[in-house]
Each structure stands twice: as C-alpha cells, then as structure tokens.
Subunit: 118 residues, 2 copies
C-alpha cells in the first residue's frame, strides 16, 4: 500500500487516509524523500486527519521523515492531528517538538508559506 | 482500497496512484459524490498521471463520475491522461467529450478556475 503524494506548485501534499502500519510508513518515507528530490519541493504538508491511531514506531518514523525532509531543504507541516493521536503521542513522551502543526490542509499551506518567508 | 480525496479550499483534489479495478473505481465514485455533498465543493481535479492502463468499464464509470459531479454542481477536470490511456480511450470510441482536461494538477486547477468564472 502506497500513500499518494501530490505535487502542487512548489509543495507536496500528502493526505494519509489509511491506517499506518510499519511497512506503509517506511514505504512512505522512501517515496516522499524521492519525490522531494525529484520535484525540488520547498515544502510538504502531511495531513493526518483520517489517522485514528498511531503507535510509537510510526510516530518515530514520522518524526524522522520530518527531520530528513528538513535536511533535504523542505519544510514539513503536520496537519489534522486528532485528539486520540495527540493524547497517545504525549503519553508516549513523543512531543514532535519543533515540527510545525496546523488544524487542516489549508492552514497547513498558510503556515508553510509563513515558515518559508521567514 | 480507497482513493484519497483531498479538500483544498473550494476544490477537491484526487490523485489516482493505484491501478484502477472495478471495485476501486465504484468505491471512488461513491466517496467522491459523498465528499462533494459534504464539503459543498465547486470543483474537482482528478489526476490520472499514474494510471497506465484503463479499460472500457473504468472509462465508463469515470465518465459517469464526471456527469454525476456536474449534476451536483461541481465541475470536474481530468488531468495527466497518459498517451497509452488516450490511445485506448479513442480506440474504444470513448471520447469523454465535453470533459475538460489538462496536462497536470496545476493546469487543472487553473482550468477549473477559468471554467467556474465563465
């Protein structure tokens, strides 16, 4: 199962609408980094609105995806983190510090624009 | 397998990045119409860049999706139709007349804007 990555102008948009398992999230990591390289994208919005649950491994991989994308020169904004996911993340001590977040895709894009203008 | 549908402002964006089978395309039809109703979207871009092959049944369902969306008040633009898909469609006598098309997602969005301004 691959998570589709949309290119929109300088950005990549990802809406995760499947439950994430280990295999899927690793494949996503690889696909996203390749796509950033291919398209020379300056920013990525990853929308997690449809993700109901997350475990520590998936949170760790997502955190790494953000770090790796940043290293490659692309800012990442996570959007639509649900209450249950936020609770799980904080309970597990995973803060995803320094990762910009926003309520939804639109606000994520605006945040990205702001971050890139800084 | 469900095809993710992204809401971006007044529009819905769909990037089909799996091979379409009968079940998937019917599920997509249902999901898209529901989402148009839910979000009150005025336009939809369906990007087929990653679709390498299409058969007559899938083409028929896609054509119907466009008609149904139009009936509900949402304009649809198809983008990224590959050479092989275009050849198959024309050889099968399916012209998807009157369906606006564009090269990629960005041009699809611009076309949608133009269509809606008319």
């Amino acid at each position: 199962m691959r998570i589709p990555i949309l290119k929109l102008y300088d950005y990549l948009l990802v809406s995760v609408q499947v439950e994430l398992d280990d295999q899927t999230v690793l494949q996503f990591q690889e696909d996203l980094l390749k796509k950033i390289h291919q398209e020379g994208s300056s920013g990525v919005v990853i929308d997690l609105t449809s993700v109901e649950m997350i475990d520590s491994y998936i949170a760790k991989v997502l955190g790494e995806v953000v770090d790796m994308s940043n290293l490659m020169g692309a800012k990442v904004v996570l959007t639509g983190i649900q209450p249950a996911v936020a609770i799980t993340l904080v309970n597990m001590g995973i803060m995803l510090d320094e990762v910009p977040t926003a309520l939804d895709l639109e606000q994520g894009l605006e945040k990205l624009q702001l971050e890139l203008e800084e």
